[in-house]
Symmetry: C2
Subunit: 110 residues, 2 copies
C-alpha cells in the first residue's frame, strides 16, 4: 500500500462515486472491488472510507439504506444521487486537467 497512498489522496470521493455509479453497494464490497481492480495494490482504509461516506452523504451526493439480509452482518447500502452523478462527471474532468498539469510540472524535460 504505502506507495502512492499520498498521491491518491483526494481521489477517495471520486473512487467511491465511480463504484456507486455502476450500482448500489456497501462499504465492504466497495473496498473489495478497489482491491480487485488494482490487483491488491491499493485499498481504502476503513476509517478513510467511512469518513468519506459521511461526507458524501452530508452533501447529498449519495444516500444510504439498510439492506434486508436475513443472515450475516448487516449492510448499509449506498446509492448515488443525481447530484452525485454530476459531481462524479465534474471530478473526472478535473482529473483529466490535473493529470496534464502534473505531467507538465514534474518532468524535467524543459
Amino acid at each position: 500500500m504505502s506507495i502512492a497512498s499520498d498521491l491518491i489522496r483526494g481521489h477517495t470521493d471520486t473512487i467511491i462515486l465511480a463504484q456507486l455509479f455502476k450500482g448500489d453497494s456497501y462499504g465492504y464490497e466497495i473496498n473489495k472491488a478497489v482491491q480487485q481492480l488494482t490487483d491488491g495494490q491499493y485499498e481504502l482504509k476503513e476509517a478513510t472510507m467511512y469518513t468519506a461516506f459521511r461526507r458524501l452523504e452530508s452533501t447529498h451526493l449519495i444516500e444510504s439504506y439498510w439492506g434486508d439480509e436475513q443472515t450475516g452482518a448487516r449492510r448499509r447500502y449506498y446509492r448515488i444521487t443525481p447530484n452525485g452523478r454530476a459531481a462524479y462527471r465534474r471530478l473526472q474532468g478535473e482529473w483529466e486537467v490535473a493529470k496534464e498539469l502534473i505531467e507538465k510540472l514534474i518532468r524535467i524535460k524543459e
Copy 2:
C-alpha cells in the same frame, strides 16, 4: 486555480524538486516557472511553497544559500542534493504507478 488544487496536493515536493533538477533557483522564480509551464492554470501558494522548502531542507533533499544580489530584494537560492535527485526519481516512478491506479479506479467502464 481552485480546480485541481486538491488533486495536485501531494505533488508539491515533486514539483519543486523537478524545477531544482534543472538548476538552482529561488522561491519567486520557481513559482513563476510553475505558472508559466501551466499557462497560468496553477500556482504554488506562497505559504505552501515555503512550508515545502522547510520540509525538503530538513530532510536534506535540498540546500539553501543566499544570493549576492547587489540590488533588489535578497534571494534565498535552493540547490537539489544527491538525496534529492534520488527522491525525485522515486517520486516520479510513484506518480506513474499512482496514475495508472487512479485511472483504473475512477472510470466507470467495468
